[in-house]
Amino acid sequence: MTANHRNAGTTRPAAHRNRQHRSPEPMTSPAPSAAPVRARFAPFERLGLALVRLFDPPMRAVQRLVGVGRMPYVFLLPNALFFGVFVFLPIGINIVFSVTGGTALFPSQRPYVGGQQYAYLLDCGSYLEPATCREDHFWRGVANTLKFTIFQMIAMVLFSLAAALVLNRPIRGRGFFRAVFFFPVLLSPVVVALIWKWILQRDGLLNAVLTTAGGEKILFFVDPGWAMFWSVFVSVWAHMGFYTLILLAGLQAIPRDIYEAAEMDGTRPWRTLVRITLPLLWPNLLVVLVLVLIRSVQVFDEVFVLTGGGPGTATMMIVQYIYTTAFANQVQNFGLAAAASVLLGLVLFGLTLLQLYFTRRKAA
């Protein structure tokens, strides 16, 4: 009897206080401090009122015209217009380009060729061997992108996971290190690539260090293996902060008492990681995996600036192929590039559906 008595006594007042607190506050707070604040914001207030006066009559007219229920669509319209002009229209134009041929720029002047562009792209002796394809550059791009994606995904997940695990521990200067890891994300990929290019090029910083230490220069951008390695490395360096942040949020969502329970259960650190942390982090890891996958299939700017796709075509990715085919080659083959874009778009669409599925399952 007394047990419930006491408990009710300890829990109820808190809830009570909260509820009471919220309602009277907005009523009482403006009274004492309002005057100076209002004076400071007077110009803004006048501006706001002027805007309201300007937009109110026409919006009211619109509302009378379409009814209150349809007003949300009116507010969505401006954005929908921009979205249509810069997203849906280009997709449509792109599809039109992909089923027409020739070098003319305007769709009206381009002859209809049906699926020929796609057929040309997909015409291969063996899909495992880019050299046997008619458009071998496209397949070289696919192969490079695949290779890049696999290495980058593994490295990205491992490094961001490790970083998140370390940054989740009570280490000294944790806030500082969190900022440091996130910093590269704020940079433009082009800037990142340029920085690393200056470090890695023939007479770059790294080679200067190597020669000073008595070693030989390494021509990183002449060796296909090194070029791919540094492409992956720079990309991971530039983006891992973002994924570290997602994983860190996931780690912090795991209740502390579960770790304490594991400690009481005599769990060794490695087993805690494998049996407790990773399973509970798994939904976040899946989201990170799919996001990394999507981004790495789209990779272009940092690799293009770093290696230019070289040596030869060793680091040429699909997006670079599309860009070169459409705009950089002497003969601008819009049709073929458009067809390649559509294929890439389909892959990305599939991956995005996958990501939505995982995100939704995580929320459920």
Partner: protein, 363 residues
């Protein structure tokens, strides 16, 4: 199964001292309850025993071995958390088996132990479920099951019933008592609920402000509180604590009138003291022999017992417990008398002082 020894345990968080030197020894097989108000350090003390908190000073000894610097995972204790802290991604079976797997116990042995605990806690039908699919009471039992499969040296309970509703709390309290009777084992139990403390404990440790106020068997604390804090904390409704004085000859005075036959002694002469009398030790009486006359402010009729909340002269506030149903109403004026053998007197420092009375009933 093991005994525990705490010596001068101190715990500071920066400038804030949470435990200010706690000495305590707990015998093998004992059920000890730490009780005290919020922030008294009882949970911290439990976590110090568990090894989840390091101490600032002092030593923790289990079975004669100093474990002060031994991490929680190596102390061989089991803990039931207030939040249960079940592993949400594991089934009930895996939750209970996890610690045994950590210890490297053979699979058939794990299976036998988990099933035995599940049967004891009526969880057999739920072994394949995840904690999320269980009710609060079932989760609570899984948390207890996770502790008992390990056969730990000491069981630690951190307010394990506070997340259950009232009915379930009473039921689980009984189950815990039965469990202790069945498996024995040293158990240390933290609660702010004195009913849990009174009903479960072999010994109660009353904590306040990071210090132990009193240690003893439940009824000893009830009958002979060592100080004002324990007197006010143990017992519900609270003991009546009335400001009183001691006159020149050492007799107790209440509201200026001497209380016949109560003589705390001449050494307290002239001091302000506190007279403690439990609600059930105040009785109705005829006017001539009354110690005080009070007016009833509120009556609580519970059927089997009746509580009167009354007030008298000089801010005298009394809670009175009477057996059965009493025909008393608000505003009634009642002469009351205190049971002489059951009075407590506390000096200005709050310490209990012996009364100059006939000897009290055996403690």
């Amino acid at each position: 199964m093991a005994g525990l020894e705490l010596r001068a345990i101190r715990k500071d968080y920066g400038p804030v001292a949470v435990l200010k030197g706690v000495d305590l020894s707990i015998a093998d097989g004992e059920f000890v309850v730490f009780v005290g108000p919020s922030g008294c350090g009882k949970s911290t003390l439990l976590r110090v025993i568990a090894g989840l908190e390091t101490v600032t000073g002092g030593a923790v000894t289990i079975d004669g071995q100093d474990v002060t610097r031994v991490p929680a995972s190596d102390r061989g204790l089991a803990m039931v958390f207030q939040s249960y802290a079940l592993y949400p991604h594991m089934s009930v079976y895996d939750n209970m088996a996890f610690a045994l797997e950590n210890m490297g116990v053979a699979k058939p042995e794990i299976d036998a132990r988990v099933r035995r605990a599940a049967a004891m806690l009526r969880l057999t039908d739920y072994l394949a479920r995840k904690p999320g699919a269980l009710s609060g009471g079932q989760r609570q039992r899984v948390a207890i099951g996770r502790a008992i499969v390990r056969d730990p040296k000491i069981f630690l309970f951190d307010e394990p019933l506070s997340n259950l509703d009232a009915e379930l709390r009473v039921a689980t309290r009984k189950e815990l008592a039965a469990l202790h009777a069945e498996i024995g084992g040293t158990m240390i139990y933290v609660t702010h609920d004195q009913v849990e403390a009174m009903t479960l404990a072999d010994r109660i440790v009353v904590l306040n402000g990071g210090r132990i106020e009193q240690v003893g068997r439940p009824l000893d604390l009830y009958n002979e509180p060592a100080n004002l804090f324990v007197a006010g904390f143990i017992g519900s409704p609270r003991m009546n604590l009335l400001p009183a004085g001691v006159d020149a000859v050492g007799a107790l005075t209440l509201a200026g009138r001497a209380l016949a036959g109560v003589t705390p002694g001449a050494q307290l002469a002239g001091e302000a003291v506190t007279l403690g009398v439990r609600p059930e030790h105040v009785g109705l009486c005829a006017a001539p022999e009354a110690d005080a006359t009070v007016a009833v402010d509120l009556v609580e009729q519970l059927g089997g017992e009746t509580f009167l909340y009354a007030s008298g002269q000089a801010d005298l506030k009394l809670t009175i417990r009477l057996d059965g149903q009493v025909g008393v109403g608000r505003g009634d004026i009642l002469p009351v008398r205190f049971d002489r053998a059951r009075l407590h007197v506390f000096d200005a420092a709050g310490r209990a002082r012996p009364l100059g009375l006939a000897p009290r009933s055996p403690a």
